[in-house]
């Protein structure tokens, strides 16, 4: 029953979030600000994780593909598949759920407990839309960019690790990357990314918005936001994979 009640409250909040903005120019300004806060600020961590994960995936592939019957370009091919289909869209989104989700929930939660949300409401502003909508749209715009950067860096990291350790020659790796390449893989990854971006921003916004109490509750909301955003990402990953690839 509690889950149903939470889902209901989330849907009511989303209805409030998608009401017509009071003044579009202010919302646009907020959108740019959020794209900077949520997206560009995350570029560093996405880059570091992607390069190292790509490298690890390539090295593991190389050690598993030790039969002379399996061509070496399989390493590049498998790295590409893992990175594009799963690692970049899902794992990076899970990491972003931790970073971006906690930021959204704690920011909005702090505004709630310090009466800043009440102040917005009394001014005649729809606080749910003003605070959450720019974050959702910013995430939807900036996440795909981050994921494309992540794909590029992970594959580059794999190439670096493969060539520096001598496990796979550049020619074989590049051939593997190009082998049976399907553009739909990228499309599939970006569709998942957009859904995960929406879930992270909206679920975290929900937990921040309904924070009540003080500093302790802000921390709790932040934790709940990260845990539940991650669960939703994993659940929707399964649903979308079944829908788009099956």
């Amino acid at each position: 029953m509690k889950i149903l009640s939470e889902v209901g409250r989330y849907l009511v909040l989303m209805k409030q979030v998608f009401r017509k903005p009071e003044k579009q120019s202010i919302y646009r300004k907020q959108l740019w600000l959020e794209m900077d806060n949520l997206g560009l600020d995350s570029l560093g961590i996405v880059a570091i994780i992607s390069i190292f994960m790509g490298a690890v995936v390539t090295i593991q592939m190389a050690f598993n593909v030790d039969s002379p019957l399996i061509p070496l370009y399989t390493i590049g091919f498998a790295t590409r598949k893992s990175v594009i289909l799963e690692f970049s869209p899902t794992i990076v989104s899970l990491i972003l759920a931790g970073k971006v989700g906690s930021r959204i929930a704690s920011e909005i939660g702090t505004m709630r407990v310090t009466e800043q949300i009440d102040a917005l409401e009394i001014m005649g502003i729809n606080p749910a839309a003003f605070l959450i909508l720019p974050k959702i749209i910013a995430s939807i715009i900036i996440y795909p960019f981050l994921i494309l950067v992540s794909m590029f860096l992970a594959i580059s990291g794999g190439w670096l690790a493969g060539s520096l350790t001598g496990l796979v020659a550049t020619n074989d790796y590049v051939y593997g990357l190009q082998y049976q390449f399907k553009m739909f893989d990228i499309t599939y990854a970006l569709i998942k990314t957009v859904v995960f971006a929406f879930l992270t921003a909206s679920v975290s916004g929900y937990y921040g918005y309904y924070t009540s109490g003080g500093a302790l509750e802000v921390g709790r909301s932040s934790t709940k936001a990260v845990v539940n955003s991650s669960i939703m990402i994993i659940l929707f990953n399964l649903i979308l994979t079944q829908l788009l690839l099956a």
Binding site: E22, K23, Q116, D118, I122, M123, G124, N126
Partner: protein, 249 residues
């Protein structure tokens, strides 16, 4: 004028406000006073629509605030300024951006006009050269004054202040009280202040509503409150040794 008619509000079957009817007049500082837990904050939150009321109605100059639609309510709220207990300044904005914010949201003023208005409001609350400071860089009294500047920047018809003196020293409290009182008379605003500070009551209480256990127990002004026979009022007014000594004199 703001009018509450037979307003009741309960939380989890506990009735916090019991059939309260009270009028707050234009151009006067109307005080809601009472002990902690008496229901005065709930009454204020009901007046501004942060809590929906269970029974009764709330009218702003004849407009029924409790029954109108969400969009109409937003329009009435654009005529309201509110000073929160902690100031509720937006942390991510500097002083100038905080004061300008309601103007950016609801007016078509140019940037220069908005900054001019912000400077005027800040000067009115005796704050200058703080435009680029952030709330975290301000003292408690300065935060309250910036919050007042923000509350009056869009020329509100109604001003609500929730415990404007909490956390301030007596001298700063009087400055804030007098500032609110001056602004109220100067712009003919309907001001409602929620307080339990007796200094405020004596300084600026043009009209006083005393709330006791969720009931409107007594109404009067700063002169009559000192001469009433009402036991609960006297217990409240003369709760401290200082006020008891002053009464003795």
């Amino acid at each position: 004028m703001i009018e509450a008619i037979n307003v009741s509000k309960s939380f989890n079957n506990h009735e916090v406000l019991k059939n309260i009817s009270v009028k707050f007049e234009k151009g006067k500082t109307n005080l809601i006073i009472g002990q902690s837990g008496s229901g005065k904050t709930v009454l204020m939150k009901c007046l501004v629509g942060l809590f929906p009321i269970d029974k009764g109605s709330i009218n702003f100059d004849g407009r029924s605030f409790s029954t109108i639609s969400y969009e109409e309510k937003k329009k009435v709220r654009q005529e309201i300024g509110m000073l929160f207990q902690g100031g509720a300044l937006f942390d991510s904005m500097n002083v100038e951006e905080n004061v300008v914010f309601p103007l950016s949201m609801f007016t078509e003023m140019s940037n220069n006009e908005k900054i001019e208005r912000a400077n005027f409001c800040l000067k009115r609350v005796n704050l200058e050269n703080v435009n680029k400071l952030f709330p975290s860089e301000l003292s408690g009294g300065m935060k309250k004054r910036v919050a007042i500047a923000r509350a009056i920047s869009a020329n509100p018809k109604y001003l609500f202040c929730d415990e404007p003196n909490s956390g301030l020293d007596p001298a700063t409290s009087i400055v804030i009280d007098n500032l609110i009182s001056e602004i109220t008379q100067e712009y003919q605003i309907t001001t409602v202040i929620n307080t339990h500070d007796m200094n405020s009551v004596i300084e600026i209480g043009d009209k006083i509503a005393f709330i006791y256990k969720g009931n409107l127990w007594w109404e009067g002004d700063k002169n009559s409150i000192l001469h009433t026979d009402n036991k609960e009022i006297n217990d409240f007014v003369y709760a401290t040794e200082l006020t008891r000594r002053l009464k003795g004199k």
